[in-house]
């Protein structure tokens, strides 16, 4: 594998490429990258890494709305959490995002994953709805989440107990 030449790597099947470690793929990545190189790096280096399935901005479902302001301004003040994939749809001009959020990178909130202020796309299983001071919360054991629409996407924000 060490002597794996660039031309062989580019011609190799996807299956064998997935077997490469991230470091090997990185070492072989062609500077600038052609189309094949891109396929390879996403299959090998990125398949298990959170964030690579993030949807990038730009897809628009309208011609004339969404560019009244800059298409990318929507997320400027939102702190994106790189470990959490749930924020598909934040900067996404369309309704495809909420669907993709469920399919591409759903992040399940678990006790170990709980971090104040983080966004999750699904809750643990042991949750109850609690209404406090006019707001809705989910209490899951000792952890609390507040549900919100982030754009079209339902997300759960980890909060302190109300």
């Amino acid at each position: 594998m060490k002597k794996f030449s660039k031309s062989v790597a580019l011609g190799a099947s996807l299956v064998s490429l997935i077997a490469l470690t991230a470091a090997q793929v990185d070492a072989q990545r062609r500077p600038g990258g052609g189309p094949r190189a891109s396929v390879r790096s996403s299959a090998g280096a990125s398949v298990n890494r959170a964030g690579t399935n993030d949807i990038r901005a730009g897809n628009r479902t309208n011609i004339n709305s969404g560019n009244r302001t800059n298409i990318n301004t929507g997320d400027v003040n939102i702190s994106r959490d790189v470990d959490i994939d749930v924020d598909h749809g934040w900067d996404h001009d369309g309704w495809g995002g909420f669907y993709a959020g469920a399919v591409v990178g759903a992040t399940v909130a678990t006790a170990t994953a709980w971090r104040l202020g983080a966004y999750y796309s699904t809750l643990p299983t042991n949750c109850v709805v609690v209404y406090r001071a006019g707001a809705t919360y989910y209490q899951c054991g000792t952890y609390w989440y507040q549900p919100r629409y982030s754009g079209m996407t339902v997300t759960y924000v980890a909060v302190v107990a109300p």
Binding site: G58, T61, N62, S65, W95, G97, A118, M152
Partner: protein, 222 residues
Amino acid sequence: MAALDRMGAALRKHPNMLVHTKLTVEDVLASGQKIQYGGSLDISARLPTKLRMVLKMGPSERQLYYDGANLTLYSPERNVYATAKAPATVREALAAAEDEYGLYIPLTDLFLWGNDPALPERITSAMAIGKETIGGNVCEHYALRQPFVDWQIWIREGENALPCKLVITTTSDPAMPQVTSIYDWQSEGVPDEAAFTFQPPQSAVRIEFQPLQSPVAASTGK
């Protein structure tokens, strides 16, 4: 451009509208890989103050209700909804939803054409391609360009110049994702006024919209 004017006029002649839309949407992953989704969007409206949309894509569904005072987004599969006060017309309400909550509601162009004189000014080129039959109607095909977007529209021949199909290509992304919608206009069956006000189903949980311009209020817990 005269064709667009005709279409705008035809759309504005139908303040009460009901249209079933077949929708294809493409997402672009950070890697540049494109993922395509198919779905449907049913739009009913009594303009300028009532709008209802039902969007279905894969396992997900969203219902949007606007009754001239409040805008509600409901997710049946999670049985949650959020309601916010909204301006007095569909156009203003959609713009506010986008600006305040990042709700990019698809195909809002349908409510803008023939209403907003700024739209034609953005177009930098336009050409007529030819005729095509879509859903039993003969439609004229046009291709247009404007900053960030190439678009193609098929418009019914004759007086009732409703859009038959629309393709939007986002040229600002090198992957050039496309959104395609094909329209099936219904001449009757527009819901009556009361149907535009959201009635929460039993046990539906009310949540909030996350405002776009405020930092995440995670630490308050309230």
